[in-house]
């Protein structure tokens, strides 16, 4: 059924959009990722202008991240103090991200920049995840690898550089003492990524919080989701007021698909656990990076692109 989207000003097949939302919701239920890194490239691939894809995706991310955040809040697995500091960084990052987005749009380099960012971040993190989970899987069978991993984790300390930064604060819930610039900086980078790439950034925030901040794993999931929910919300409002690129109808279709998909995803999650699941997720992230990257190195089918300006 063709639906004419009012903000995107183009028609899409409604079933395809709902199916996309359902597929991403399914993966979200299994792995607990926001799914933004999947939805945005797919929307662009379907022909939507990148600006509308990123803006609308921020809106859909609010829905999917609020879902998880509430669950964690109910169990008390969120450090609100650190979350608040990260949030301030995230809001500043979002504003900067939207500014950068508009500049790139003006110069017609938004497609290329998105591809580069996706390849760098998704490729980098996906690769790291693949190595880490493959090692964890092997460790189940080899005591030598397991011992080596345990030794590596014990020597993991905070970079001493961070101890020289000002405004050291106590974060009681996470039992940490660190400069506010560190969580603020992490939130700042997350905010930029949400606004430019239309991703939640969960798979970047989580390793950063574990390895850079040294937060207890129990608090990481909930606090990162809170951060994503808040920055996506802020990003949505910014995209809507500054660029007018949030299509409510498209977001509604995606979220409804997500409703169905997440239900099945949570059910399937019972059968897929541990290192196997992380390998699967790593492969998924890497394949998205490869798809986004191949347009950059292989001669594109269409050398020309068209932009309609004012009058």
């Amino acid at each position: 059924m063709l639906i004419h989207l009012p903000i995107a000003e183009m028609s899409v097949v409604a079933e395809q959009i709902i199916a996309l939302g359902a597929a991403v919701g399914f993966l979200s239920g299994i792995f607990g990722v926001g799914g933004g890194f999947l939805t945005t490239p797919f929307l662009i691939f379907m022909g939507l202008p990148p600006a509308v894809a990123v803006g609308t995706q921020s809106c859909q991310l609010v829905a999917s991240s609020v879902t998880g955040t509430l669950g964690h809040l109910r169990r008390g697995n969120v450090d609100l103090h650190i979350g608040f500091v990260m949030l301030i960084g995230g809001l500043i990052g979002s504003i900067l991200g939207i500014g950068i987005f508009r500049i790139l749009q003006h110069f017609g380099q938004i497609d290329f920049t998105l591809a580069v960012l996706y390849v760098l971040f998704l490729g980098g993190v996906g690769g790291a995840m693949l190595i880490e989970s493959a090692l964890a899987l092997i460790a189940q069978y080899s005591r030598r690898v397991k011992a080596w991993l345990i030794r590596r984790q014990e020597t993991q300390t905070l970079f001493s550089f961070f101890e020289t930064l000002p405004w050291q604060t106590d974060f009681a819930r996470s039992r940490l003492r660190v400069s506010v610039l560190v969580p603020g900086g992490i939130g700042f980078v997350g905010g930029i990524l949400v606004s430019i790439m239309g991703i939640g950034g969960g798979f970047l925030l989580v390793p950063a919080m574990i390895y850079i901040l040294g937060m207890p794993t129990l608090l990481v999931a909930g606090t990162s989701l809170l951060q994503i929910a808040a920055t996506s919300a802020f990003s949505t409002v910014l995209h809507a007021s500054a660029n007018g690129t949030v299509d409510a109808l498209l977001a509604a279709l995606l979220i409804s698909g997500g409703l169905i998909g997440t239900r099945f995803g949570v059910w399937t999650a019972r059968f897929l656990t541990g290192a196997t699941a992380r390998i699967a997720l790593a492969l998924l992230v890497l394949s998205v990076a490869v798809i986004m990257g191949q347009d950059m190195v292989i001669e594109p089918k269409n050398l020309f692109s068209f932009t309609v300006r004012g009058t």
């Binding site: 004419h4 009012p6 903000i7 792995f31 809106c59 919300a233 949030v246 190195v297 004012g310």
Partner: protein
């Protein structure tokens, strides 16, 4: 007294013989009307019909052109730099109609009426032609530029009709229909009519709201999404 009557008679002759007044006593060579002055784009829009009809009272070759709102279009081309394909060169086409279609009667003399794409998008020569041709092909593939003329049908020897099909992705704005009558001597008559393509219904109101009240619209979208998320959370998601 007779002298005044003669003067009056002479003045009335001048009035009647004057070209402006002479024409108003005869019917116009061309009369044009549109079946509707608007095309409504709603959520289920799959394309629209524009029907032009009228009366031609003087022999000549008829041609109809349909032009959409004018915008500047920037065409960018990718080139390989250090192995990566990046947007490098570009060409600007200012004030280009976003939609164009034309109609001719059967067996029309194509050389007489200038209706082809070359009239507003002439070949530029050299490298710029690559951009022009790419733009032409892209527009034609989307059915926004014509691949062939629409047929003007004659319902009666002096009554004509042309039916244009607007595609689903047609841009919104003011469109101009121009009907021209030409002979070998040149342009005899021309009539213009305007119609508008606009979003109506829920979609149109949504777009208008998002443009004038962007901030509030963004806030409402966010709140609704958060509520949806709150609803989904009862499914019991892990993480």
């Amino acid at each position: 007294m007779a002298r005044y009557a003669l003067l009056l008679y002479a003045m009335s002759l001048i009035v009647v013989a004057h070209p402006v007044y002479a024409d108003s006593l005869e019917p116009l060579p061309l009369t044009v009307s549109l079946a509707s002055d608007k095309v409504d784009v709603n959520t289920g829009f799959r394309g629209g019909d524009v029907i032009v009809f009228g009366v031609q009272r003087v022999p000549g070759d008829l041609s109809i052109t349909l032009k959409g709102p004018r915008r500047t279009i920037l065409v960018r081309r990718k080139a390989q730099i250090f192995g990566l394909w990046i947007n490098t060169s570009s060409w600007t086409f200012p004030a280009l109609p976003q939609y164009y279609a034309y109609a001719l009667p059967k067996n029309a003399d194509k050389n007489l009426s200038p209706v082809g794409l070359e009239t507003f998008l002439p070949p530029l020569g050299g490298d710029a032609d690559a951009f022009r041709n790419a733009l032409l092909h892209e527009r034609q593939n989307k059915n926004l530029f014509p691949k062939a003329p629409v047929l003007i049908q004659y319902l009666a020897p002096d009554t004509f009709r042309a039916h244009f099909n607007l595609p689903a992705d047609v841009p919104v704005g003011i469109y101009e229909v121009r009907v021209s009558l030409r002979t070998k001597k040149g342009l005899i008559a021309e009539e213009s009519q305007m119609f508008s393509v606009a979003q109506t219904g829920f979609g149109g109101q949504l777009q208008a709201f998002s443009r004038s009240w962007g901030l509030v619209y963004g806030l409402i979208c966010t709140i609704l999404a958060a509520l949806a998320g709150w609803g989904i959370s009862f499914i019991g998601i892990r993480r």
